[in-house]
Subunit: 235 residues, 2 copies
């Protein structure tokens, strides 16, 4: 790994715990309006249908590229109707912004701070640049720079995103390491010549969903968290 100069991080699920953050925000909204909504189910649907599936559709060319805020908002409107919750516009806007204020996993700020000593650390997320910037401010994430798929007019796992990030950092692909909790992302990065580190986030999808941990050797590193990654890289 001596040639690696830049660590590029997936963010949602890898650096931040989107699910707990969205559930907590939803519960606060529900309490204020005295309504009972199954917020874990709400959060999972918002993530799956409003983001993951929407981006997959865009990547298939079945839908035009959209800002992530717009994708989130479209799904939020459908979910509010589905669960029968009628909120004033300013509260809908605020709820949609929860994706800008996701909580880091406990090891993220300290682990990233260690990794930053030796490497350039950057986001490489499908979230838009302003969203990632807001999230870093809120979560004390010490990025050296913010790179987002939108800069390359595509969404991961489109190869243009990995190629574009390496080009902006003036790194050869083998000087880059993708760090993610998702194998699809790592496999796409590896196909472009990046090194890869899998971070196991077993609670990303909640207590009921088992996230398998790939065997050691599947990627350059298979680690439990960013502290573990920093230890393995000797920083």
């Amino acid at each position: 790994m001596s040639g690696v100069r830049a660590l590029l991080f997936d963010v949602f699920g890898t650096v931040v715990d989107w699910r707990s953050s969205v559930i907590a925000k939803g519960e606060a909204v529900g309490k204020r309006h005295r309504v009972e909504i199954p917020w874990p189910e709400f959060a999972d649907a918002w993530r799956r249908e409003g983001y993951s599936q929407a981006i997959a559709q865009i990547n298939l060319g079945e839908a035009p590229r959209q800002d992530v805020d717009v994708l989130h908002r479209a799904m939020l409107d459908r979910l509010l109707a589905r669960y029968g919750l009628d909120l004033p516009e300013d509260e809908v806007v605020d709820l949609n912004m929860v994706w800008h204020r996701l909580w880091p996993w406990p090891d993220s700020p300290s682990g990233l701070t260690r990794l930053k000593r030796r490497y350039t650390i950057s986001t490489l997320s499908n979230g838009d640049l302003h969203l990632l910037t807001n999230m870093a401010k809120n979560g004390a994430l010490p990025w050296d720079c913010i790179l987002a798929a939108e800069l390359f007019g595509a969404y991961k796992p489109d190869p243009r995103v990995y190629d574009g990030a390496a080009r902006l950092l003036r790194c050869a692909p083998e000087e880059c390491m993708m760090v993610a909790a998702h194998e699809q992302d790592l496999q796409a990065a590896r196909a472009r010549g990046f090194h890869t580190a899998f971070v196991h986030r077993p609670r990303e999808f909640g207590p009921g969903v088992v996230v398998p941990r790939p065997a050691d050797g599947t990627y350059d590193f298979v680690v439990a968290n960013f502290t573990d990654l920093a230890d393995r890289l000797g920083v």
Copy 2:
């Protein structure tokens, strides 16, 4: 100024003291090779001919767009020949990288840290993204994100740079304030609807060059440094 959300900073001269940094690096090289070169003159020519004039030519369409490292290197090769200094390639590469390691003005890290409490603070420089990222690491500059003219395929004062930055931050132009030590930059930003803050850096071009301070009221703010700007903005 209550609507401003993002402060966008020119970097060379505004945030960092390029001239002292380049002179000091040159003097170390000269000492090692036991040669006497007028490094202030060398630094000024490198900046003026190798960067400012090269970018002006590109903006006039007289030369193709180039990476800043490439512009700096081309001029460095000419200057080394001009002053009769024959360096091994690894030392030429290292000397060219001085532009990635420029020293902040003394008020920059602390002033930016204060401004960051309320505003999104970003670079908006003609320096390339990787150069600005390296400079921030070296100089402890606490940017929220790194925006560079290269993202917009142009160099300041081309309007695409200001428009593109506002778009990436999802800010209306009037929610942005350009902060610079150069009036051309501020005037171009203002023409795109940005607020403007002039920072007076009287030593940018060395002790022999007087940098006029515009009259109060010429821009939204005319300040002595970033501490002064933070005071005026009440953060």
